[in-house]
Amino acid sequence: MNFLSIRDVSKVYERRGVPMLAVDSVNLTVAHDELVCLLGVSGCGKSTLLQVVAGLEDPTEGEVLIDGCLVSGQTHPEASVVFQEHGLFPWMTVVDNIAFNLKARGTKRDERQRIAAEFIALVGLTGFETRYPHELSGGMRQRVGIARAMTTRPKLLLMDEPFGALDAQTRAIMQTELLRVLETHPSAVLFVTHGVDEAILLADRVVIMSPRPGRIRKIMDIDLPRPRDPTSAEFTALVRAVLDEIHDDISLLAKQ
């Protein structure tokens, strides 16, 4: 049973009066407990597609269904979004940031605090409740972002290059952390990334997108058992296969 269906979605942007086809007739489904990575070079429309699924942008054509409901103009209540680290409110403490999505739903204060505390413990931020985001490291900020998204117990997690701004070591830690959190709170995940390793490490399926216009080039199933070892032969073979697939896009990007 598909939880998320993207049907013939196209998105046209106007840039200085010139229409640009950012996403071109994309069809994609994500099952209940599936982690799908959208992978591609910049400008391939992967982030735009995520914004459409999140209800932040309306598709020019086509439709997005979450749990059978048409997404239009607002975020589906079963979905949560994790942004790059800049998505935290700098004037709110860690606990207030994490409780914000619940507050927006009208959850009572006591209940908010209780749930926030639970997720603070889950992502390992105990002791940092009253800190402000800029007092945290990049990795900790992303923990806050993930915790905030999880508090509403979403059935679909939309992640827009969440670890893109982190250094390599922190990113590796956060990838493991994400998988651990998903074990206790399973949900469908649509994860946008430009990291080939990251996609293969996390995904059940990798959706490779190519730019101008943004469309799906190939979908690869990743059947490696977890935990995956990025240094194993199977893993590196997959990395090579993906790189071969996007080689043209990379050289195109390099020429610009």
Partner: protein, 281 residues
Amino acid sequence: MVSMPEAISAPSAQPSAGTRQKALPKTRPLSSSALLGLIPIVLLLIAWELATRSGSYSSVLLPSPMAVATVFVHDWSDLARHTGASVLRVVIGVSIAFVTATPLGLLIGRFPVLDRIMDWSVQIFRSFPIIALIPLAILFFGIGDRPAIILIWIAAFWPLLISTIFAVKNVERTLMKAAKVANASNALILRDILLPSALPSILTGLRLAIGAGWLTVVTAEMMAVRSGLGYLIMYAQVIFRPDLIIAGILIIGAIGLMFDQCVRVARKRLCRWQEGLVLES
């Protein structure tokens, strides 16, 4: 980590470890002492004293610093009464401006259609010099507190409104997206996102507003009221008391400084989250 070319330009290492650094023992450098602000004032006092001693100005027209100091002793009750009257008017006028301009600014900044409706009017009305409105205010409201407070309200309204609108329009887009995906209501967005995010800028607007209000009260009191520092100064001219005029001017400056410091302190308290984010608030 094999990444696509996009990652090449991605910002590298974040500061690691979330633990707060231990504060080094503070030896305040001279350059950060608040007392540095006294230097120009002391120099001016010395120049003033020298000017009176040189004898090139009649001491009747230019009283010495000492002569002005004695005014504060002899006439302190008059000075206090008039100062109190002026300060009260400014506090009331600016407070009314704050509670009207800030919500309006939040709404205009939030809803582009309101911005389009209001933009021209804001630009037109804020261009009116307050002095030009005094005669009208006297005609409409007579002589007394009412015209003065209304003029202060008008003068303080625009800087607050404009800085609020500006701040709201400059809220980071990612933050608005984060609020939107949480399906936050408009009321929650205004109160929990736009207001706190705009607050530093609003308080800067408040500093400007108090300055404008303080200028206005003195001007208005010279024409529309029979009390306050503006009135005192005009009256001192009539009875030929330059020492009293200068005393009044000094009080105006001192109170201006005091107001400004109050807002700074308020800003430090209210925008504690900015500590370490900005150079200086």
